[in-house]
């Protein structure tokens, strides 16, 4: 037991790697939230009147809503008036090309391992980097433009493609969907926008990097992905934040709209600052992610690796409206120290012969609480719907908790639903087997955990899979239950 404790100690003493701040002058709104702030944000971003109206309406709805309390997480009440809702890196002129971008910013991204410079072109990833709510630079725009793909920051999309934004924004996640989506709709500052035209297969992975830099700010970004008929796109999202003592709020909205035969693959590696060993500080990650399989035979696949955030509250969901459409959800959620995660998915089967697959792997260590909460709902019309769900939990140490709350609602007799869940610790026999073969305990645990999460990690694009594996090893290497 003492060995275990020692190993656990080590694990818990791992410091957050991305905990540096960048010394960039920022241009911020005053603290607090009211109609004036919203007007301020809207004016700053030079938005059309309809969008301001939309924001104000969202704000009105938000003031009428109550913060939800059903999630299995505990945190002190958030003072929404104590948050800076707009914080942008100050730039004198809009950058025309990469040379014009503040070198400090470039350094930031280099530290993150995502370089906006030419050399990264070799890896073939188009990056849109969002720092403190504002999109800084988007790479590869021209290459993508040739194929008719629009990939830009949300504010740019508002200016250049207002029709598309107006038509699809809020169509998957309505403003009043929940408390945080309403808040986001009122104050969102930037994010990514992506449109893949008919029949186009996006030749490279599209990627967004989010970073909260300034103190006391919240990040409220909004991502909108529209995949037109027969198109395909793989989209990556990564997040980090510096170490701070106070909690910071992140309330994002991601909407995916897939038309007939379209396929969207959305991968997230979430590594927001999780707070320190005593659970002080860290990001509150309250995110609404939803995909709509609008057309027949469309497919949306969510893959997430959740290792950061003090509190994660997120349910990437699929509404399977089109016949033969398919939704997938692959998740690894790791919690350590005093982290809390309440995450899962919703699969709403509406169309005929719709299929969904859920694979969720939870790993809890330290004093953390890790919950899976999911719903599979087969509506009356969904003839021949099929679902398979598996949610496994791994416990390391006797002070953490693992919880599962699956809801299964079936209204059609031809549906076939399977759900299974297990909870256990790493088998002593497995560790013993490795030790016997000269693999030390730390490597053995890393090996076993990676094997445990493999089903999900396999779904990630190469570049992300490597990062995710490193992250897992970093957080959990050596911990024996």
């Amino acid at each position: 037991m003492s060995k275990d404790n020692q190993v656990l100690e080590e694990l818990t003493s791992k410091e957050y790697e991305h905990g540096w701040t960048t010394d960039i002058e920022t241009d911020s709104a005053p603290k607090g939230l009211n109609e004036d702030i919203i007007r301020f944000i809207s004016a700053k971003k030079n938005e059309p009147a309809w969008l301001l109206e939309w924001r104000l309406k969202a704000y009105q709805q938000w003031t009428k809503m109550k913060e939800p309390t059903w999630a299995n997480v505990k945190f002190p009440e958030i003072n929404y008036q104590d948050v800076i809702y707009y914080s942008a890196p100050k730039q004198k002129v809009t950058p025309k090309n990469l040379e014009d971008v503040d070198p400090e910013l470039i350094k930031t991204f280099e530290k993150l391992g995502i370089s906006l410079t030419e050399q990264k072109r070799l890896t073939g990833i188009a990056v849109d980097a969002v720092i403190d709510s504002v999109s800084v630079a988007t790479t590869f725009k021209e290459t993508l433009g040739e194929l008719g793909i629009i990939f830009c920051s949300f504010s740019e999309a508002v200016q250049k493609h207002p029709d598309l934004v107006k038509k699809y924004m809020g169509s998957v996640v309505p403003v009043n969907d929940n408390y945080f989506s309403a808040l986001n709709s009122a104050v969102f500052t930037d994010g990514s926008f992506c449109y893949i035209p008919k029949g186009v297969r996006c030749p490279m992975e599209l990627s967004t990097y989010f970073r909260i830099n300034a103190a006391n700010t919240g990040q409220f970004e909004r991502t909108l992905i529209i995949a037109d008929e027969g198109s395909y796109v793989s989209y990556l999202e990564g997040c980090t934040a510096p170490q701070r003592d106070e909690n910071q709020l992140h309330a994002a909205v991601v909407e995916i709209y897939a038309m007939k035969d379209a396929q969207v693959k959305y991968s997230t590696v979430q590594n927001w600052y999780p707070g320190d060993k005593e659970g002080k500080g860290g990001i509150y990650n309250f995110v609404t992610k939803r995909g709509l399989c609008y057309g027949d035979s469309s497919k949306i696949s969510w893959t997430q690796v959740e290792t950061g955030s003090a509190i994660t509250w997120k349910y990437p969901s699929c509404i399977l409206r089109g016949d033969n459409s398919m939704g997938e959800f692959y998740s690894v959620a790791v919690t350590n120290n005093y982290q809390q995660a309440d995450t899962g998915t919703k699969m709403i089967h509406i169309g005929k012969n719709t299929k969904s697959r859920i694979v969720s792997k939870g790993i809890s260590a330290g004093h953390s609480q890790n919950s899976y909460r999911g719903q599979v709902h087969i509506m009356k019309r969904a003839e021949g719907a099929r679902n398979f769900s598996q949610c496994d939990s791994l416990l390391m140490g006797d002070k953490c908790g693992a919880h599962t709350f699956p809801y299964i609602d079936v209204e059609n007799s031809t549906a076939r639903i399977e759900h299974e869940a297990t909870t256990s610790k790493i088998g002593e026999d497995q560790i013993f087997y490795c030790l016997q073969r000269g693999i030390d305990e730390e490597s053995a645990v890393a090996l076993i955990v990676n094997g445990y999460a493999k089903e999900v990690l396999n779904q990630l694009p190469m570049e992300f899979a490597v990062e995710a594996q490193k992250l897992l090893a970093l957080t959990l290497e050596g911990s024996v239950g």
């Binding site: 809801y407 299964i408 209204e411 639903i417 399977e418 239950g481």
Partner: protein, 437 residues
């Protein structure tokens, strides 16, 4: 989490009624008064209360019942239609919540005490008050509070240490609604001493066309190394609504088997809670619900592992036809001290008609790391290929279907130990499958 406070008329009407019915001189007056207050505080569950999400009990009480209306006496003669033939047992009959001594037969013995709870409250005051209301939590559930404040009668069983009782005890709860609506609150208390064992069977039936509502609470304490087998057969025709709470407290090395068969009724809500407050405990919970028409059966079970080295296993299976709805929620709690727990749960459902629904929510909450816990649930339909196989051999579709459903139900039935009960259920179920599905 539990019942949300509602400010509806039914709650205040019922709360006033409960207050009025309190008798200051009753032996358990303090308990009842406290419960009446708890009821007023908790209130009947609101329409969206998580624990009653699919089970609109409050609305039914509001719409279909006049709670101030007294419950008629009911006719004793009807009971013969519902008894289990050929079973040597001590029987207690409750008609519309009132104990009917003429229909009951309790063998004289010194081995154990079987009494109507009201009598036991007078003759065994200390023992009853030691346990009554100590397990079923009035604050957590409004119906339990209601029952604790207003129960009329029920069963009291005390099995002394080291007595194995072979002869089962049967309770018949008959609702005779031919003279109007019936609302009852019955209460059982079962105390099983160390190394003792007992089997208790409850059967719910109703006659008459008016609606009826029963609020049933059973508390059981199973001491060290003791055993309890608890059967519940819910076979109400027509308009019976039932909310039941069974709470069993288990000590070290005790064994509990529960069986819940829901074969009929309008609305049945079964709360079954097992508290495993000891080591080396073995608990099995079995359930079978065969639903047709507009029946709604809602099973909410809780297994609470509080100490190390215990085992629990749960198997609930259901078939839904017509407009029936099956609801299942199985919670498994494993507390931080409860290392080396093994807990398993399975819920399997078959939907036969396009308008049938199933809502299931298995739930694991685990705070200990050295455990093996799993749950599984499925929803599906009969295998086309197996049906075809049978039909290709000259078996008509309905018989083939019945045969397959019988096999599906068999997994639960096979665990029933008492041969007479098993045969009775077997007949009942195969008849049902051939006739109704």
């Amino acid at each position: 989490m539990s019942a949300t406070v509602t400010d509806n008329n039914t709650t205040s009407e019922l709360a006033a009624l409960l207050d009025k019915q309190l008798v200051a001189t009753a032996v358990d007056a303090a308990l009842r008064k406290e419960a009446a207050i708890a009821f007023r505080t908790a209130g009947l569950p609101a329409a969206k209360a998580e624990e009653y999400r699919f089970t609109p009990v409050t609305r039914i009480l509001e719409k279909q019942f006049t709670l101030s209306q007294p419950t008629p006496a009911g006719q004793a003669s009807r009971i013969n239609d519902y008894t289990l033939a050929g079973l040597e047992a001590d029987t207690l009959v409750f008609i519309n919540g009132v104990f009917s001594p003429a229909d009951s037969s309790i063998q004289k013995t010194t081995d154990l005490t079987i009494l109507p709870l009201q009598e036991a409250l007078v003759s065994h005051t200390a023992l009853v008050l030691k346990h009554l209301g100590q397990y079923a939590d009035t604050a957590a559930d409004a119906f339990t509070a209601w029952n604790t404040a207003a129960w009329t009668n029920g069963l009291f069983v005390h099995v002394p240490d080291n007595k194995i009782i072979e002869r089962p005890i049967i309770l018949y709860h008959l609702h005779d609604t031919s003279e109007g609506q019936v609302v009852t609150a019955t209460r059982n208390l079962i105390v099983v001493g160390r190394n003792a064992e007992v089997t208790i069977l409850e059967k719910y039936d109703s006659a008459g066309a008016s609606p009826s509502f029963s609020n049933q609470v059973t508390e059981a304490v199973v001491a060290e190394n003791a055993g309890l087998n608890l059967y519940s057969i819910q076979h109400d025709a027509g308009q019976r609504h039932q909310v039941g709470m069974t709470r069993i407290q288990q000590a070290n090395y005790s064994r509990v088997n529960t069986f819940t068969f829901t074969l009929n009724g309008k609305l049945v809500r079964n709360n079954l809670q097992l508290v495993l407050d000891g080591e080396g405990i073995e608990s099995h919970m079995y359930g079978l619900y065969l639903l047709t028409g507009d029946t709604l059966a809602d099973n909410h079970t809780v297994v609470d592992h509080r100490k190390p080295n215990s085992f629990s296993n749960e198997l609930y299976k259901g078939v839904m036809d017509g407009n029936a709805r099956g609801v299942f929620n199985g919670k498994i709690y494993v507390r931080p001290q409860a290392q080396k727990t093994n807990a398993f749960q399975a819920n399997r459902n078959i939907l036969l008609s396009p308008t049938a629904t199933v809502n299931t929510k298995p739930q694991l909450e685990i705070w200990a790391d050295d455990v093996k816990c799993s749950h599984g649930c499925t929803s599906g339909q009969l295998d086309e290929e197996a049906l075809f196989y049978l039909r290709a051999r000259g078996i008509d579709k309905l018989s083939a279907q019945a045969m397959m459903l019988y096999a599906f139900a068999g997994e639960v039935l096979t665990n029933v130990k008492n041969p007479v009960v098993k045969e009775y259920l077997d007949n009942l179920i195969s008849q049902r499958l051939h006739k109704n599905f």
